[in-house]
Amino acid sequence: MADTQTARPVLDLREVTKFFGGLSAVKGLSLALPRGALWGLIGPNGAGKTTVFNLITGLIKVSEGEIIFGDERIDGLEPYEITRMGVARTFQNIRLFSNLSVLDNVRIAYHPHAGYSFGDSMLRTRRFTAKEKELTDQAMEFLSIFKLQGIAEETARNLPYGEQRRVEIARALACNPQVLLLDEPAAGMNPREIQELMDLIHFIRDRFKLTILLIEHQMRVVMGICEYLTVMDFGEVIARGTPKEIQGNQKVVEAYLGKGVASSAAG
């Protein structure tokens, strides 16, 4: 860990605070993601994890503090600009474009680099035809990485839950990100699906050279794949460390289970 921390972080949250009215959902959160990390963000319900994701992706604006991606400040940018710079995400409750085909879901993510203008598409120029073909081929190839090519023309809504999760991850990766934010990817999955998901996450990190930040409740996933954890409670970081260290952390156990239970469990 030592050398990754001295290297320049790819995503750096500095003292980020978010107020909703008088309530602070996130308080002075600092988090530096080293390049290539598989980082977990955990904490009990309502700890503000998803808010952190929304802040990073610009869906909600930061009240105080700053977020640096690479060399640039990204807090205050529009969500689409942040995504185009290289931060993609999935959602806790799957948000596919449910009436569109799987292929179109992926092709939409390609839109910012479609390579032809609005004028090209209206006049159906040669460039349009060539680029559109290229884009479609690329999307199909991309889907085949996830073994989704067979259901490319299926409507997203009709897919089983596990596959929808995979499509959503594929769609996020189609944005060509450097940092991928996964919001509870294992929610609602059975043990076999969880195992597949863990393999998938490892696979995409190596294949696309990603940095992954992951929110998760399933301890199996967290302990299984995360290299480093940040634990939040009531909008604040209460602990950081490797999964091993976190497991034995008194504060974390308390946050999850409550004080009384924790002391009796520890004893």
């Binding site: 992706t57 869906l59 205050g76 529009e78 969500p79 689409y80 995504t83 185009r84 993609a88 995400r89 959602f91 948000r95 596919l96 474009f97 449910s98 009436n99 569109l100 292929l103 179109d104 092709r107 939409i108 993510a109 390609y110 839109h111 910012p112 479609a114 032809y116 609005f118 598409s121 209206m122 006049l123 159906r124 349009f128 035809t129 559109e132 073909k133 884009l135 479609t136 081929d137 199909m140 085949s144 073994k147 989704l148 090519q149 067979g150 259901i151 490319a152 023309e153 299926e154 897919l159 596959e163 769609r171 996020a172 944005c175 597949e196």
Partner: protein, 457 residues
């Protein structure tokens, strides 16, 4: 007589829907000559039907022809609205206002032209071009600095467009003498007064009217589209009312005495022929197809499906909404211009916001997200309501036609109960459906979902 009329109307409706099917099917053929032949045939069949008559019985009587022209212009409005509401998910009641704007702008141009004055064409033409350039320029400048609030951006655009309008006013009037010589005198009309010149001016007027509606929709949409969908709907209702109020007072608070305010504008040259209507319909179909079946079109769909996810996928949703709104309004403007030159008379009451629900009903009736549905439903709607019901009920007494406003809501209600997704759902025919690029992608790879699941486990 009544049964015969009933029968012939149903046959005509079915024939026109079949005609739409044929046209879309033919346009989807691979080779260019096949497409060209389709276009010629599609044009010829209707033109032939216009001319064909057996003694007293005309296959397509003047009345039916009128219905067809109404249906064509309604189809453009409906397709435009489908782009906004069906594809982009923005509930808009302003469509009818843009239809009215298109109608009045085009009518004003040709009205002045046919009375020997080119100022209408010159001012509107130059205005639309300069307005477009001004918007493009301001857009480029605004992109240099980021984080400009939308209302400030709107103010800049507004100032630029008003300035462009003022310049156009000055330039247009200054150029009039150059053109005026071509009109000749009453006794010896010059070339500019000829029928051919009138047609050219008419076509220009239609395009200008569309562009004018598009630019207005840009200015209106820019601030208003940032509102959520429901609020946007209310704002568009306001727009429709403002437009109608301006029409009613066009000779008092607006400087257009020829529009005659609430009394209605008369003497618009009836220049819409089947040829022009057909060509514009064809262009509309092709443009909308090209729009929908492109990356921009998919981005538009993603905004309808899930705005938050679209933003997270790198889609500029504000831009996407504005684009589809402007495109839809452009089509409405064209439809209005064609309608004005078919009917030859415009009255503000035609553009009341109540009538504005008609395209909305057609779009829902045909299927949100189905261009084919909007086309077919426009034909069915006009022939059913204006043709069939009005004539049939008219034979039962002078007051009876009022019943159609009871009968068609019932028909609508039944449809919504039985087929809430509209007649065609999201089904498209032929040309509008084809995604050839997709078909080319390795069919060998296509597996059933079951096979894939097996493979994965």
């Amino acid at each position: 007589m009544e049964l015969g009329y009933l029968f012939s109307t149903i046959v005509k409706m079915a024939a026109l829907v079949a005609w739409i099917y044929g046209l879309l099917w033919g346009l989807n053929r691979k080779l260019l000559w096949q497409k060209a032949l389709t276009v010629i045939l599609a044009f010829g069949v209707i033109q032939g039907a216009f001319l064909l008559s057996f003694g007293d019985f005309a296959v397509f009587s003047g009345f039916d022809q009128g219905l067809l022209f109404q249906a064509v212009s309604m189809a453009m409005v409906a397709v435009g609205l489908n782009v906004i509401y069906g594809f982009n998910g923005q509930f808009s009641l302003a469509q009818w206002g843009f239809y009215g704007i298109g109608a009045y702008v085009a009518a004003d141009i040709t009205w002045w032209w046919s009375s020997g004055n080119a100022s209408g064409l010159l001012v509107a033409g130059i205005g639309v071009i300069l307005g477009g350039l001004a918007i493009a320029l301001v857009g480029r400048l605004l992109r240099l600095k980021r984080g400009i609030p939308v209302l400030s951006a709107f103010t800049f655009y507004l100032i630029a467009v008003v300035a462009a309008g003022a310049v156009a006013m000055y330039l247009g009037h200054a150029l009039v003498p150059l053109v005026q010589a071509g009109f000749g005198t009453k006794a010896a009309p010059g070339i500019l007064a000829s029928a051919a010149a009138q047609q050219v001016v008419f076509i220009l007027a239609v395009v200008i009217a569309g562009a004018f509606a598009a630019e207005i929709s840009f200015l209106f949409g820019l601030p208003v589209l940032t509102l959520g969908s429901d609020y946007f709907g209310i704002a568009t209702l306001g727009f429709a009312i403002v437009v109608q109020t301006l029409m009613v007072n066009s000779d008092t608070i607006l400087p257009f005495p020829e529009m005659k305010g609430g009394r209605g504008m008369i003497g618009i040259p009836r220049l819409t022929t089947w040829a022009t209507a057909f060509i514009f319909l064809l262009l509309v179909i092709i443009l909308v197809r090209n729009f929908v079946k492109s990356s921009t079109g998919r981005a538009t769909l993603s905004v309808r499906e899930d705005e938050t996810a679209a933003r997270a996928m790198g889609i500029d949703i504000a831009q996407s909404k504005l684009l589809s709104f402007v495109l839809g309004s452009f089509l409405a403007g064209i439809g209005g211009a064609l309608y004005a030159h078919y009917i030859g008379f415009l009255s503000p009451s035609m553009f009341s916001f109540i009538a504005g629900f008609n395209p909305l009903i057609i779009v829902v009736f045909g299927g949100l997200g189905s261009i084919t549905g909007s086309l077919a439903a426009s034909v069915a709607w006009i022939f059913f309501l204006e043709g069939f019901l009005r004539v049939l009920l008219g034979q039962m007494g002078t007051e009876a036609p009022t019943w159609r406003f009871v009968l068609y809501p019932i028909a609508l209600l039944l449809l919504m109960l039985m087929r809430p997704q509209g007649l065609l759902g999201t089904v498209e025919w032929g040309f509008l459906k084809a995604d050839r690029l997709l078909k080319k992608v390795k069919p060998a790879d296509a597996k059933t979902p079951a096979a894939v699941q097996k493979e994965n486990s």
